[in-house]
C-alpha cells in the first residue's frame, strides 16, 4: 500500500480519496486533500517525522500519521 510514509525524499504522489476518513481533520484543513500532490522534502533520523509539501503548505508530520494517508502512485 502506498502512503506518504513509503515515499522517498524528492518523490511525489497524489493523495487518494479512499480512506479519507482516516486523515485527521486538521491535516485536511491544512491542505492535505484528496487529489492534491504531496512531495516528501526531508526525513528526520529514523524516518520520522516527515517534512512534506502539499497544496503549497510545508508541513512536518509524524510517521504514524503519514502512514494513514494513502497515495495514488504518480510518475
Amino acid at each position: 500500500m502506498n502512503t506518504i510514509a513509503t515515499l522517498h525524499i524528492g518523490e511525489k504522489g497524489i493523495i487518494s480519496d479512499e480512506m479519507i476518513d482516516k486523515i485527521p481533520l486538521k491535516l485536511l484543513e491544512m491542505g492535505c486533500l484528496p487529489g492534491a500532490e504531496v512531495e516528501l522534502l526531508q526525513l528526520a533520523p529514523l524516518k520520522d517525522p516527515l517534512y512534506i509539501c502539499v497544496n503549497g503548505s510545508h508541513l512536518a508530520i509524524r510517521k504514524e500519521t503519514a502512514s494513514l494517508i494513502q497515495l495514488i502512485k504518480s510518475e
Binding site: 479519507i20 528526520a44 529514523l46 517534512y51 503548505s57
Partner: protein, 703 residues
C-alpha cells in the same frame, strides 16, 4: 466624536505576519490581559481610523481553522460564537500570506460564514513579483464578497488602506456567507439542524455541535435539543471532512480566476537552507552550537546589568534607612519590599536576553526546524518536538517555560513537559550555585585551561537536563492519560526577523514574568520579612538580655548590634521554623541556620544567599571587609569546631538545589496551567523527595 469604538478582531494562520500588522496598527498602545478562566494572553490595542472613528483591535491567537486543536486556538471560536462576549467583533480582519493564499482562504471562508463583516488582508505582497504571483484584485473581491487589501506589514505598505477597509466594511456591513455548508453535504440534515434553534445562524449551530461549545446565547433548553441532535458522532466527523473538501473546491474555483503563479520564478532559498538546517548530522551540530552560543552570551551579557541592579537596590535600601525615621514601617520598606523588588528585577537581564534569542529563532522560522529534528528523540521520553522550546526557556525561568507548553497539543506530552521543566537550571539557582561552588571547589585549572569551578557549574547544568529527561522517561511509563495526540507543524519560510516584533515579544514575556512571578516573589519576601522580624516572647527580650550580658565585655557598639540581629533571627518565627526542621535536615549535613535559608528560599531560590548573609553577619568584626562568601567560609560547627561549609555539606546543598522545586511561582503557574492541585503537589513532593534523598546520599557518602 462620541462614536463608539469599532471592535476589530485580527485572525489568521500562524506565520502570516498577523502580529506585524497588529504592531503596525496599534504600536505601543497594546496591552496584554487574560481571557477569563484561562491564561491565554489577550493582546489588545487601539487604533485611529478615518473620520474620527477609533478601533479596539484584538489580536486573536494564530490558527489554521476555526476548529481548535489547542487551548490557544480555542479562544478564536469562543470569541466568535458568543455574540454577547465583550470581545465579540464588529469587524474581522483575516490576515493571509500571499504565498499560502489557498490555505488562508480556508480560514477566511469559515469566518465569512459566521456573517460578521470581514476584511481580507493579503500580507507580504511586496514579494509577489519576485515569486511570480499575480492577483486580480477586483475579481477576488467580487468572489469572496469582501474588501481585499494588499499590504506589506513589515514595510508599512497598505496600513492606511486596512484602516479604511475596516471602517467601510463596518458601515456597509456585508455579511453574505461564502460557502453555504448545508446545500452540498446533506440538505435534509442541515435543514433539521436549523430548525432546532431557529434564532441562530446555521453555521454557528454546526460549530456548536461539532466543537461542543455552547455560548451563553443558547438557553439550557436549546442546548439539550442540540445535544440530542448530535447523537451520531460518526456523521459529524464525516460531514466535517466533506465540509473541508467542499470549502477547498470553492476556493480553488475562486483562485483559478484571480490568482496566478509563475513557478519558474520561484527561487529556492528555502530548500537550500533546509538541506543544512534539517540535515541528519549538520542539523544537530548547528542546533547545539547555537544553544551553546546562546548560553554563553547570556552569561557574558547579563552579569553587568545584574550587578548594577543588585548594588542599586542595596544602596537604595541603605539610603532610605538613613532618610526615614527608624521603625517598623521603615524596616518593612528597606528589608521587605525593596529587597523583594530587587529580587525580582535582578532576573530581568537573563530572562530578557534568553527570550530575545528565542524570539529571533522563532521569527526566522528556524525553531520549526528544531522541532522537526528533535521530535522523535523527545517522543521517546513522552514529550514532543515542541517541548524543546519550553526546556530551553526553563534555563531562564520555569514560569514562562511552563506557559510556553501551550503549543503542545497532546495533553500527556504537555503535562510531562510541565512536570520536568523545573529541573532545568534556571537563573535563580545561579547565585546559590555560584557561592557554594566558590566555597567548596578550589579555583584551579586542570590541563592548564579548564577551570574546576566552571566545570562544576557545567556539570550542574547537565545534571538538571539529564534529570529532566530521565524523569520524563519515568513519567511516560507511569502516567496513564487518555491521549489523542496528533502532531503537525508548519515549516514556515525563512525570514529575516523584524526588530519591532522581536522587541515587543521580549517586552511582553518579560512583563509576564515581572507581573506574574514578581507579585508572588514580592509577597513572599514581605511574609518572610515579617517572620524574621517578629517572634514569641523571647524575641522581644533579646535586646535587653544581650545588652545586659555584654555590658562588662569588650564589644564595640556595632558588634553588639550584629549579635542582637543574629540572636533576634534565631528567636524569630522563622528561626523557630529552622530549629523545628533541624532534626529532619541534620542527616543532609545542615544546621538550623541553613534550615532558615531553605525555608526562606521558597520565595525564590536566590533568597538563600541573602538569608545566610544576615544569619552569619555576627562573626565579623568589620562588616565592610567581609563578603557573604567570607562569612560563610568562617562559619564553624559549635560542637566540633570544624568548618560548616565543607565539601560534603556544599555538595549536598548543590544537589538539593538542583532537584528541589524551591519556587512558589512555579507552583502557582503549574496549578493555573493544569487546572488542578494534583499535579503541582505531585511535582512539589516528588522533586522534594528526590532532592532530599539525593542530598542525603551525597552527604553520607562524602562525609
Amino acid at each position: 466624536m462620541g462614536k463608539n469604538p469599532i471592535k476589530v478582531a485580527l485572525i489568521g494562520n500562524p506565520n502570516t505576519g498577523k502580529t506585524s500588522l497588529f504592531n503596525q496598527l496599534t504600536g505601543l498602545s497594546q496591552k496584554v490581559g487574560n481571557y477569563p478562566g484561562i491564561t491565554v494572553d489577550k493582546k489588545q490595542g487601539t487604533c485611529k481610523l478615518p473620520d474620527n472613528y477609533t478601533a479596539i483591535i484584538t489580536d486573536l491567537p494564530g490558527t489554521y481553522s476555526i476548529n481548535p486543536t489547542s487551548i490557544d486556538e480555542s479562544i478564536v471560536i469562543k470569541t466568535l460564537l458568543n455574540t454577547k462576549d465583550d470581545n465579540y467583533p464588529d469587524v474581522i480582519v483575516v490576515v493571509a500570506d500571499v504565498e499560502n493564499l489557498k490555505r488562508n482562504l480556508f480560514l477566511f471562508s469559515q469566518i465569512k460564514d459566521l456573517k460578521i463583516p470581514t476584511v481580507l488582508v493579503i500580507n507580504m505582497s511586496d514579494q509577489m513579483e519576485r515569486k511570480g504571483i499575480k492577483i486580480d484584485l477586483p475579481s477576488l473581491e467580487e468572489a469572496v464578497n469582501a474588501e481585499v487589501v494588499l499590504i506589506s506589514a513589515r514595510k508599512k505598505i497598505g496600513i492606511e488602506q486596512v484602516k479604511k477597509a475596516i471602517l467601510s466594511s463596518h458601515i456597509s456591513h456585508k455579511t453574505e456567507p461564502m460557502c453555504a455548508v448545508n446545500k452540498r453535504i446533506d440538505i435534509e440534515y442541515f435543514d433539521t439542524l436549523k430548525k432546532v434553534v431557529p434564532s441562530h445562524n446555521l453555521y454557528e449551530l454546526w460549530l456548536m455541535i461539532t466543537q461542543n461549545n455552547f455560548p451563553e446565547t443558547i438557553t439550557p433548553e436549546e442546548k439539550k435539543r442540540l445535544l440530542a441532535f448530535k447523537h451520531d458522532a460518526s456523521k459529524l466527523k464525516k460531514y466535517q471532512h466533506k465540509e473541508t473538501i467542499y470549502r477547498y473546491q470553492k476556493i480553488n474555483e475562486i483562485l483559478k480566476k484571480s490568482y496566478q503563479v509563475d513557478r519558474s520564478k520561484a527561487t529556492d532559498v528555502r530548500s537550500k537552507l533546509d538541506k543544512v538546517f534539517t540535515h541528519k548530522i549538520f542539523g544537530y551540530v548547528l542546533f547545539f552550537t547555537i544553544l551553546f552560543l546562546i548560553f554563553q552570551s547570556i552569561f557574558d551579557w547579563a552579569s553587568a546589568p545584574m550587578d548594577f541592579i543588585d548594588s542599586t537596590f542595596a544602596n537604595l535600601s541603605n539610603f532610605i534607612k538613613l532618610k526615614l525615621p527608624a521603625g517598623v514601617f521603615t524596616d518593612l520598606i528597606t528589608e521587605g519590599i525593596i529587597p523583594g523588588i530587587g529580587g525580582v528585577l535582578i532576573f530581568i537581564p537573563q530572562i530578557a536576553i534568553l527570550f530575545l534569542f528565542v524570539a529571533v529563532l522563532e521569527e526566522t522560522g528556524y525553531m520549526s526546524r528544531v522541532v522537526f529534528l528533535m521530535d522523535k528523540i523527545m517522543r521517546r521520553y513522552g514529550m514532543s518536538g515542541k517541548s524543546v522550546i519550553p526546556l530551553i526557556s526553563g534555563t531562564a525561568c520555569a514560569i514562562p517555560a511552563v506557559m510556553a507548553t501551550r503549543t503542545i497539543s497532546g495533553w500527556k506530552e504537555r503535562l510531562i513537559t510541565i512536570l520536568v521543566v523545573p529541573f532545568t537550571t534556571c537563573s535563580a539557582r545561579l547565585p546559590v550555585y555560584a557561592i557554594l561552588i566558590s566555597l567548596i571547589i578550589p579555583d584551579r585549572k586542570i590541563f592548564g585551561f579548564i577551570g574546576l569551578q566552571g566545570l562544576t557549574l557545567l556539570a550542574l547544568y547537565v545534571l538538571g537536563f539529564a534529570t529532566a529527561i530521565i524523569s520524563a522517561f519515568i513519567l511516560n511509563k507511569i502516567i496513564k492519560v487518555k491521549n489523542r495526540s496528533f502532531f503537525v507543524i508548519e515549516m514556515p519560510n525563512y525570514k529575516i526577523p523584524s526588530v519591532k516584533n522581536v522587541l515587543l515579544e521580549v517586552l511582553e514575556k518579560t512583563k509576564a514574568f515581572v507581573f506574574g512571578a514578581g507579585k508572588i516573589i514580592l509577597a513572599i519576601s514581605v511574609v518572610l520579612w515579617f517572620l524574621a522580624s517578629n517572634g514569641a516572647e523571647e524575641f522581644d527580650n533579646v535586646e535587653r538580655n544581650i545588652q545586659k550580658n555584654t555590658i562588662n565585655k569588650q564589644f564595640t557598639p556595632s558588634e553588639i548590634t550584629q549579635i542582637i540581629a543574629s540572636e533576634k533571627l534565631e528567636k524569630s518565627y522563622i528561626g523557630m521554623m529552622g530549629k523545628a526542621i533541624e532534626p529532619a535536615i541534620r542527616p543532609l549535613g545542615y544546621d538550623w541556620k541553613i534550615g532558615i535559608a531553605l525555608i526562606s528560599s521558597f520565595a525564590a531560590r536566590e533568597v538563600f544567599v541573602g538569608t545566610l548573609a544576615t544569619i552569619y553577619s555576627v562573626e565579623n568584626k568589620d562588616e565592610n571587609n567581609s563578603t557573604i562568601k567570607q562569612k560563610m567560609a568562617a562559619e564553624v560547627r559549635p560542637s566540633t569546631g570544624e568548618k560548616l561549609f565543607n565539601f560534603p555539606v556544599g555538595m549536598s546543598l548543590l544537589v538539593f538545589y538542583a532537584f528541589a522545586m524551591q519556587c512558589i511561582g512555579t507552583f502557582a503557574i503549574v496549578k493555573r496551567e493544569t487546572k488542578t492541585w494534583k499535579w503541582p503537589l505531585i511535582q512539589l513532593f516528588g522533586m522534594g523527595a528526590l532532592a532530599y534523598i539525593a542530598a542525603f546520599i551525597v552527604y553520607q557518602i562524602l562525609s
